[in-house]
């Protein structure tokens, strides 16, 4: 091509080619797009590309930089400004959801059970655009027990039977027929039991002869699952204006069961319980979920924390394939240094215990190095150890001599 010709995207791409493994993909794409849009000549374009690559390499974090400390400060300081209250879910007045500092603690503490488990169930195909179909899915999700659909459940101690009086309005509302109730009762009736149906009254003859057992069966009947998923207390259909779709917010969480229900979009449906995500979708999904949840909490509180700090925390928490908490002892508890531990809490106990165990302090952390008064901490520039290769040095001297003599 002629030198004065304007560069095209392909030409710029060729210019970046040598750096393609050094630069992140997004940056490459942006350079290609931007540089080619200014109508530069190839010489100028080359200079621009070189300059960008240089700036990028200069902006990289240096080896030994205490990134964890920076991340913890960068998340910790804004967190002090968070509210201590729990808020209501955006758009769903009735559903409570933990937000702010309590939620952030829940995430970094890696709690197995969260205070307000919630699922966002997205719907697939036609289900997402039809309110009736969405409601149908919601009914499949929400746990319905016999007690939920009955006017009264009474015990007949003479006949040793349990009488269930169904409420027709609720039955219709929840999309349940008396047949479903009978099916559910059949699961627990046993060999001696029998079921008599009289319109909306169902008489369950237990065949028992023990009043205490009868009472126990009564409790079981009341909480017997007719429809829905264990753990889902409520399911509310919402219209999401951002994506123009119906979706379902649930109180309570059971990801495995929800994903396998027809109409549920198994690609997008999520829970706010990170352990559940790790179990069902794997550690990488859990890492992504930690980032998502932390970012949501901070954003919702109007705090501007660079995503890289959050990513670092998520990476550290999922490093060994399991979710580890970031507690007050750092990630996954114990520091290797005796002195650092002793400086923190119960000094004498730590010193005595470590003496008994014959522990060695390698003096690799900041605290212990400050304590013993050493001037170099293995961090930043202090992480570098200098070794000298005398033969190489001598040969360099001879090179120097040659250079100076010529």
């Amino acid at each position: 091509m002629v030198e004065s010709e304007r560069v095209t995207e392909d030409v710029v791409r060729a210019l970046i080619e040598p750096y393609i493994h050094v630069l992140p993909k997004r940056l490459v794409e942006e350079i290609v797009k931007r540089v080619s849009s200014y109508g530069l000549t190839i010489e100028v374009a080359r200079k621009v590309v070189d300059r960008i690559v240089g700036e990028y390499l200069n902006s990289l974090v240096e080896p030994g930089e205490a990134v964890g400390m920076i991340a913890s400060q960068s998340i910790g300081e804004p967190s002090t400004q968070m509210t201590l209250r729990t808020f209501h879910f955006a758009g769903v007045r009735e559903l409570n959801v933990t937000l702010g500092l309590p939620r952030l603690l829940e995430i970094v503490d890696a709690r197995k059970t969260v205070a307000t488990p919630i699922m966002e169930v997205y719907l697939s195909g036609e289900y997402a655009h039809n309110r009736e179909l969405a409601l149908e899915v919601a009914r499949e999700l929400e746990l319905t027990t016999i007690e939920n659909v009955s006017r009264a459940i009474t015990v007949d101690y003479i006949e040793y039977s349990i009488i269930v009086e169904l409420d027709p309005d609720i039955l219709e509302n929840r999309g349940i027929s008396p047949k479903d109730i009978i099916k559910a009762l059949n699961r627990i009736k046993g060999k001696k039991g029998s079921i008599i149906v009289d319109n909306l009254t169902i008489i369950f003859k237990t065949g028992l002869e023990d009043a205490i057992k009868l009472k126990r069966i009564h409790d079981r009947v009341r909480s017997l699952r007719v429809k829905g998923i264990k753990g889902i207390r409520r399911a509310v259909v919402r219209y999401d204006e951002k994506i123009n779709e119906y979706k379902i917010i649930t109180e309570g969480s059971n990801l495995v069961a929800a994903l396998s229900i027809e109409g549920v979009d198994h690609r997008r449906t999520i829970t706010n319980n990170i352990y559940e995500i790790a179990e069902v979708l794997g550690i990488e999904a859990a890492r992504a979920a930690i980032i998502r949840e932390m970012r949501n909490v901070l954003e919702e509180q109007g705090l501007d924390v660079d995503i890289r700090h959050i990513i670092l925390v998520a990476d550290a928490m999922t490093l060994n394939g399991r979710i580890r908490q970031v507690g007050r002892h750092g990630v996954a508890g114990e520091k290797p240094s005796v002195l650092a531990r002793a400086a923190f809490e119960v000094t004498v106990k730590h010193l005595v215990d470590s003496a008994v165990r014959g522990e060695v302090d390698e003096l690799r952390g900041v605290v212990e190095n400050v304590m013993v008064g050493s001037r170099v901490v293995p961090l930043g520039t202090g992480i570098v150890k200098l070794l000298m290769l005398y033969p190489a040095l001598q040969s360099m001297d001879s090179v120097d001599e040659e250079l100076s003599s010529s």
Binding site: R26, H266, R267, E284, A288, T318
Partner: protein
């Protein structure tokens, strides 16, 4: 409405996982100058590792969507568990 089997690899939270061959992982470790155990880990019982049929000792390449880099490649060493 019934229940059905679903493929977790299609979930948007699950990034692309690629099981590396022995040669590929040796080459990778040499390039990075680290040993296998120095990589982040993934349990052999992890649902995605199971779906790929990964065994302890394997290396899995993870291609994540990154908000900063666009695409970011990471590696995980499969450990027993």
């Amino acid at each position: 409405m019934g229940t059905r089997k679903i493929n977790i690899l299609e979930h948007e939270l699950v990034p692309q996982h690629i099981l590396l061959s022995e040669e590929e992982s040796v080459k990778l470790l040499k390039r990075m100058g680290v040993s296998k155990r120095q990589l982040p880990w993934i349990l052999a019982s992890d649902p995605v590792a199971k779906a790929l049929g990964a065994k302890p000792g394997d290396v899995i390449m993870v291609v994540r969507k990154s908000p900063t880099a666009g695409l970011a490649v990471a590696y995980r060493y499969v450990v027993r568990g």
